[in-house]
């Protein structure tokens, strides 16, 4: 055991230890700063303290009244959950056909799904914004500033993404079960519902989580397509952040508390699904 471990070791022991310490420090110093600053006083953080001179949990109670964070979090949760469910389910059916059947244009679609993930967000946002703002004139609909408008906008990148995640999973799924079911006369819908969905549930969850995170982490679309009542958490935090400079008393401790609160759902999702998410990250070579 120890001999085989010795064989796979790639770096001399002192170098390994030094590198590990350096890398951990690089990550953990800024991360611990967030936690420490959120437990500090606003004045302490503004004067450049790393280690708080006074400890308190005040920032975590004050932040809810200083910034409109709760509205943002509720909006983010609603919009991103809808995006996650819609793109995971639609992505699964689309991916199933793309993986199991060949037809003209199939490779183009697959290539498009990968390519779409690297298209600049601004290029997508412009036409979506123009379409949404003219919807009032041409269709009599108010779209800008509504949650469902944001939901549709998020689908533009979440749907291709989830579809691709499902393609990478489904092509590894053995075909025997479906073939057996088909011989027994099961229709495609039954196969999809009774075999594919249950078998690929972990991947569907991952596709949904990725779609959720795409929405949760987005600032670009939300900063343009929302109004104050429909702000997402990301927009609330970045507005709060830019309001600190030029103001009289910057409340950086509260800002760090807000940053931690916004990061919390994401961190929890990763912790809960770490194995699947990391596998998905590297398998599909998607972000």
């Amino acid at each position: 055991m120890s001999a085989s471990a010795e064989a796979t070791r790639l770096l001399p022991r002192p170098m390994l230890a030094t590198l590990t310490v350096l890398l951990c420090a690089m990550v953990l110093i800024p991360v611990s700063y967030i936690v420490l600053a959120s437990l500090n006083s606003d004045v302490g953080v503004a004067s450049g303290e790393f280690w708080p001179s006074s400890w308190s949990l005040e920032s975590y109670t004050k932040i809810w009244t200083t910034a409109d964070l709760s509205t943002g979090i509720v909006n983010s949760l609603i919009v991103c959950s809808c995006t996650a469910v819609a793109s995971a389910l639609l992505g699964t059916t689309t991916a199933y056909v793309l993986v199991r059947y060949s037809f003209l244009g199939r490779l183009t679609i697959l290539r498009g799904l990968v390519g779409l993930q690297s298209i600049p967000g601004t290029l997508m946002l412009l036409p979506v914004f123009v379409l949404f703002s003219s919807a009032g004139n041409y269709l009599g609909l108010t779209v800008i500033g509504t949650r469902w408008g944001l939901f549709v906008a998020y689908l533009t990148f979440a749907l291709p993404f989830s579809t691709w995640v499902m393609v990478t999973y489904l092509r590894g799924l053995p075909r025997e079960l479906e073939e057996a079911a088909r011989t027994d006369g099961a229709s495609t819908v039954v196969i999809l519902w009774r075999i594919i969905f249950p078998l690929s549930l972990p991947a569907i969850v991952v596709a949904g989580i990725f779609a959720f995170l795409l929405g949760w982490n987005d600032v670009l679309f939300a900063s343009v397509l929302t109004r104050p009542e429909t702000h997402t958490a990301a927009v609330a935090l970045s507005i709060f952040g830019s309001a600190q400079e030029g103001g009289a008393l910057p409340v950086y401790s509260q800002m760090m508390a807000a940053a931690l609160i916004c990061a919390l759902p994401v961190v929890l999702l990763y912790l809960a699904f770490q194995r699947y998410l990391v596998g998905g990250l590297t398998a599909g070579s998607v972000k």
Partner: protein, 312 residues
Amino acid sequence: MTTLVRPEQKAPPPHKRKGVTQQQRPLWLLTPGGILLILIVLIPLALAVYLSLLDLDQYTLRRWIEAPFIGLDNYVESFDSGLLHSIWISVSFSVLSTAVTVPIGIAAALVTQNAYRGRGLVRAAFLIPYVLPSFVVASVWRTMLQPDGVVNAWLSKVGVDGGLWLSGPKSYWTLVLVEIWAAWPFIYLMALAALQSVDHEVHEASAVDGVTWWPKLRRVILPYLRGPVLLACLLATLNHINNFTLPFVLFGAPAPDDVNVMPMLVYVTSFQSLRFGLSAAMAVVSLIIIAIPLYVYLRAVRLDVHEEGGRR
């Protein structure tokens, strides 16, 4: 993290290829997702190109169908409004960030390759920058890099005057540093996956031959990493070029001239100067810029399980 070797990497048994096409194809299943994709992805993309040919501003925005058609004037104008500068900033920033993240990511993969007590914690720590949302990372660094912030407080202790990080010429390096901090775990993940695909026999053979660590690393191990890491580099560079959140939250809009990357330029031109046609032209140009690495990436990525061997 132990499931990095994915089942689909095995070559499919040859008999599987039959039966793909022969049955009736339920292509109608494509319709819900497919129609939606056409509606919300393809139509907007085509519209973006059309918008770039219009004189579209806040007055014509709501009736864009009637907006005046001005041909390529927007493209000509965009090169007079700082587009070349932004392209240069974007490209240099992205290439630089990728170049620095590669050695860091590979080093991190090398040190976590071997099992030791506490490795799980180290691996989890390495993922933190990647897991944290971009807007959180940017908010935190923005706070730390304030003129009176913690970074300058530390620097002054060792006698260095930090000065301004978030405006002026240093802002460019701030952007690069924060992007590196946030993005290196991606390279790490890809390098780690590649490392774990190295057969144990390879390690044993090197041990039997008594190769010391550096020649082993250079001649034996790194060649295994080259393909996956190159692919990761392409994707990472594309992600850097398209990163809007980091400069937007770090510096605010409009951004200082030294960090006016393409997404920021497009954003400010459209949503602050309200020149929608002009910014559409800029966005189309930025798509053309990323088309080259994107094309290479699309050629390299494995699209399909039915295509075997080297045929693609």
